[in-house]
Symmetry: D2
Subunit: 467 residues, 4 copies
């Protein structure tokens, strides 16, 4: 998920700015998106399921109008969450005014908090963390002197991962969980202050990067300027390693480290850990390309373009008949025969989750005439569920939980298979000042996982019938 | 606003049934509409701003799927409420399960209830009564043994007008306020039970009318059949007289009285109270046609077709240039010259609110050659605001508050003007067993009006900035 | 079908004017519609299948832009013609420039003309007469000194019904076939000249009626003003009687006769020709209402509102399941029980084509408790196909060709049935200066029908496979 | 532009196959697209402006239905051609039946042919070559014994570039101009025969490549199988070199040469012709990436990822306010700072047309900290207009016609600039059996250019006003 907030010193096209930023953050979530605009205390919102260019048009951007603040969100979520009710920003009215919330992350104690709130008479209109967070802040707001202090107090209760951008009638506030699982940074565009998930959103607006928000930090902007509350700071940082391996855009810089460089370095480590005698190194577009380049440079094996990805795929793709569905395997990705034919190929991808995609890709290469296929993965095997927003499947669906490396290699049909080691993945971003969360690889959970995991909270079927 | 609910004994196309019923109830609200389907306890909802044929299509009706219960709603509201967030049914999850609510009416103590709830930490995502009602029921549900008992207890707190259809995982429940301001009836379609605002929705489905729900009555249907809770019954009934004069469809039968007949009778009383020597009686389509027929029959003056209404108007109507806007006065309504040219015309309408529409209509008749225009209105002058859901403007906008009858006649350019008397309007539906609320005419409010009226709760600008 | 053209003396919002006019002409055709704008010789067009409010929006009207001329069209056609390729105006480029054509009617020699053109190498991109007409005019344009003379010459070849509005780079031209089967009139709006099918389109714009175009007349407007070519005038006029009975809007005045009055008169004749002892006269909305009023006045039997028509039906109507399809007979039309229960009812409609609709309507009345039903039709029985654009089915589908009046009465379940006589239908518009075409009733075809009728030219299946 | 045709031996989902193929050909044209399906001689078509995923959905693909043949098209054209009327396939009815045409190319004698046809009475409803071709074939069809012979004869008159796929009621026919300017190949999918522009469309369907169609060849498929007419074969082939440099997808194989390889080779030649001392070689996505890799390999300078392209851009992109328009330069393309900061960069692109894009890209690199920028272009300077479908601007807009290489370098702000030589560009696809058209570089036009070029035929303003 991706978040964005802008505070302008005068009435301006903040909706347009949010729109551009969400475009740049689209890779962080394709389920739904939304923008809320604050015009002198009055908040308007437009949000829906779909991509940014589908949800927004000149008409509805125009209706959002001008304002001095805006908050935006792109949602990434399992299929159950595709419902419009889960789209953010969430806009609520409470006893002290209104509030718009955009959140990236997953609370580990969502269940406990929601149960407690429900026992106090709360009603829920979505399955998103944002609603639980809104209630938690509102509850504190009854006694706290300010919105930022309410957030500060609510953070005592919120466990897990959250990167928040919150807009009150007069203030724009960003807050990051004490472990800093998800990125959140500050930028500047003229006099305007911006909070957003990735620096590529700043670039898209021509804004300047100021600094990352610290884990546990609350940053407030209002007519008096910007200030911090650091009561929750000081924990050891645990940014999700998958932000570097897969989530973030390569041109973003997170915690001082360039994502593209980290991926190249992951490729270089792979070459050292899993060398192989081969003719060409290719990457699976787009997530394996950077690591492939790193592998090539380290190993000296030439880099090649092994696949062409159809640039126009993305929206609903209709496969009218079963026979076509089978025939159309190459519509999204097609192998470049001249690159792989008769060659010993090193194939780089970021990870294998269930194995079905890898299986299909390997088949494409075989059909294109690859002589040997040596698959290398720029991350260690997933063997533990993630409770902080990565949405990695339950253990029984993870191929690495069910098979040995050799079994997987055989299953997907490659001549050899090598995963990056946990030691190596921890070193892919050396300039980064902080530590990584690598729980999905090594089970070292920085925040206690939920006892009875509300894993399927987005699965309406389960959650409602349980009641 | 119009509500609908269906309880089927087996899984069937309840969404399709709701769709047909909402089509028949469309005249009760054109702002937004929605359908929630309950399939074995799992509730799906689709709702949006717009008319039923615009909001629903084969695709989204298909996604709602089969179920054993459905609830539907059409919303009528001032422009401020056109936001998607106010669309109903409202679907909420609470500590004991889920609930879908569709409501017709206006709470007089919305403000007090919301304030009280907010002080308890409640957050609001819409401006609709349904959300306050949902909180009120949920609060009682914490201790009440059943959903129906929660509703029963909540009704102690709800003041004003409400006709509710509520769906829990296993039950379909209808409830009507103790004064019975808005209609609500029960029908039967095979083994299925239906609750809905008007009998025309029953007819559209080929369902049979069983009976009206009593003011204050709660009716519950579940696998054990249908039963009533009558703790709030026994008050003097005060159904809104405007349901007969304007809101309801002429073919509906409300509280035992046919709406078309009531309107004809109103016309007949008008002829007795305000006779005039004339050549033809015409009605303003569609609301004045029935009364015009009644006036004609009583007076012996021939009934004529004075206007043709464009059947295709209804959706967004584009008036690209100012000059066209002025020219296009006859696009919705055009006078039939042969009916009125050189004639002394009796013109019947249901009411005059601000006077602008009447002014335009009178001009059309003059241009078509009417010699004299005697306007007759099938209701008394509005002089008091309505707090029960009629959405009649604030006093300063009501023309009858600012001018005498003679002044109004002069203002809109008619040769004479006559309003139906309050005594007469009370007699237009003699077969009806109950009393009327005629507060908008005589100020006799059955339920105490709000002290500081939250009149503009749908005006986001005002309500939010107040905070 | 309906046509419209406007010639402005300066650049103005002619697209907006056409849009309003097409709204008023929508009853003449719901399959497709279009507008072509001429801005200083450059012609832009937008057209598509669907109703005017669905096809046009602020965006595409804006793109059509300003101009000094516009032509508009609404298409009525059998289902085979719903293809976008048949939408008009047809815009073509030929050796002497460009031309936009909008046509109302049906050529009887379409087949012969198309064959001849095809043998000369012509290609056809639609099945509409307009394309044959465009070729015919273009052919003459090769040698004729002007566009109007080309039209004049082409009219020697065109047989059957056509009311044309044609726009060349510099001129707006209207032409009507020598029999005048379809209406076409001239109006004035400030300095602008308008050609259109019905006066209601003039009224919608606030324009003034000037006169009807004569059968066979060509009227040209350009910077030199308006002039006529009358080489094809002087035939006996044969305007389609069905324009008065069914097609035209009641508020239109055609050939000096008001349509509403003609329908009332038809009802009065019916009362004289087929009197019956009854309690109430009702009409089938909307086409039977005027005649019902005429019947009531003539007979002294009170006029009643027997049905309520759902005002919101019109667009795609989804009937998701078979069971609902059967239940939903009352969604479009519902009987008013209080009007008909226990009564002897005179039921007026304009015609019976196949009998299925009448059957359904009679059933509604029976279910609502009508004691007797006496059906009266404001036109004689259809027994002959129409070749001039009425699109009446082939003989084998016309119920009146297969059954006697008594058999039809029995078939649709009425107690008695009476058709208006041919003599009477000829007298319904006495002020009208011209004769009627009544071929569908009496087989007196003013123009020789096609020998091998291209009846199903819109049936792609047939027409293409024939080749 | 891209064309596609499929001939199945039995009724099957040919529309679905065309849809998949057009998806794979989308890079060849984004203005409009269309599919025509032939079901036992009856042809249905759906086409519109927009991308394949926007124009087609489950609903309209379903309506196209099953068939035994289909033709598809994607259109690339200057802005004037965005009108729906220019979308293909063009479906026409002529004296001997129906025909659907999809064309890739530009006729050099369009003007002459159209004039001649117009003088014979032809009317034109679009500005596309396809209509002129349809008339030309139809004219011959009057006397020729078959559709293929009509095409064969018409080819005597057609000059310039055309790759046609034509569907008659019973046959699917492909034809390529005698110079073979645009690619066209044959594939096989089970028993089905496919004609299409690029092999990537075959791959998308899982079809097998059979062979390229020869320049001047006509290939016919019907129930008797496949056969060739080679009356127009034997000319020296002149395939457009820009197919290899820019148009085609890298994974396609054209005339035996892999496009990706050709681009790499172009990069290698560039390294030899314009060596430079630098730290990193980067390409402009997507068209410069392959050549950058080739330059890197040849020169030994490391390959780097210099830019990230937003994968979600493509559809309408809204820039609500002027200030944002300026800020949003990095929304489509963003520089990767870690790759270029402080580096001497070799920047590879395929060409410079007007210079504005290059200017913007160079600025991005400078802002990202590039120390030196050495731009290399994988094609020679454009100095001559193209008349065969490349749509290269008129001379006065081509930067290379107005400036020397040094001036251009200065203008776009690079430290050095090098174009590939004409000699080298001719050698980029050595396995290819045929010659190149390099007229845009050297003025050697294989087919005489039009004397008075109808350069702006898509400019309605000019073409219509000329008349």
């Amino acid at each position: 998920m991706g978040v964005f907030g802008i505070y302008e010193t005068s009435r301006s096209d903040v909706a347009g700015a949010a729109y551009l930023a969400l475009y740049a953050l689209q890779h962080r979530g394709q389920e739904s998106c939304g923008i809320a605009v604050n015009d002198d205390g009055v908040i308007k919102v437009h949000k829906d399921t779909g991509l940014v260019p589908d949800v927004f048009n000149a008409d509805n951007l125009g209706k959002l109008g001008l304002g001095n603040m805006a908050v935006g969100h792109v949602l990434y979520a399992p299929s159950g969450a595709k419902d419009r009710s889960n789209a953010q920003p969430l806009v609520v009215r409470h006893t002290k005014g209104t509030m718009a919330i955009a959140d990236n992350g997953t609370l580990t104690n969502y269940n406990e908090l929601r149960e407690e709130l429900e026992l106090g008479g709360a009603i829920f209109q979505s399955l998103s963390d944002a609603e639980v967070i809104a209630y938690s802040i509102t509850k504190e707001r009854l006694t706290a002197p300010s919105i930022e202090e309410s957030i500060n107090r609510a953070m005592n209760r919120l466990k897990g991962a959250y990167s928040l951008v919150i807009m009150s009638p007069q203030k724009l506030i960003a807050a990051r969980d004490p472990d800093g699982f998800r990125p959140l940074c500050i930028g500047k565009l003229g006099d305007a202050i911006i909070f957003t998930s990735e620096t590529c959103a700043l670039n898209s607006l021509g804004a300047t990067f100021i600094r990352d928000i610290e884990p546990g930090e609350i940053v407030v902007v209002d007519e008096n300027g910007m200030r911090s509350i650091k009561d929750h700071c000081g924990h050891k940082e645990h940014i999700c390693v998958f932000e570097f391996v897969y989530f973030a855009r390569p041109d973003s810089v997170i915690e001082g480290a360039c994502v593209h460089e980290a991926r190249q370095r992951a490729g270089a480590f792979l070459a050292l850990e899993h060398p192989v005698d081969a003719d060409v190194v290719i990457g699976v577009p787009d997530s394996g390309l950077d690591a492939a380049l790193g592998y090539s440079k380290q190993s000296g094996i030439p880099y090649g373009v092994g696949f062409i990805k159809n640039r126009y795929i993305g929206r609903t793709f209709i496969q009218s008949s079963q026979s076509l569905r089978e025939k159309s395997v190459r519509i999204k990705l097609n192998a470049v025969e001249s690159t792989v034919k008769g060659k010993r190929v090193v194939l780089i991808d970021d990870s294998i989750v269930r194995g079905t995609t890898s299986d299909r890709i390997v088949r494409l290469l075989r059909e294109a005439g690859a002589k040997e296929i040596h698959m290398r993965l720029s991350s260690p095997p997933f063997v533990n569920p993630c409770y902080y927003g990565t949405d990695i499947d339950a253990k029984d669906k993870l191929i690495a939980c069910r098979m040995t490396v050799d079994e997987i290699a055989k299953h997907i049909g490659v001549d050899s298979l090598g995963y990056l080691s946990i030691d190596a993945v921890k070193k892919i971003a050396p300039t980064k000042s902080c530590g990584f969360c690598t729980a999905c690889f090594d089970g070292q959970y920085p925040v206690t996982p939920p006892s009875s995991p509300f894993k399927n909270k987005y699965d309406c079927k389960l959650s409602e019938k349980a009641k």
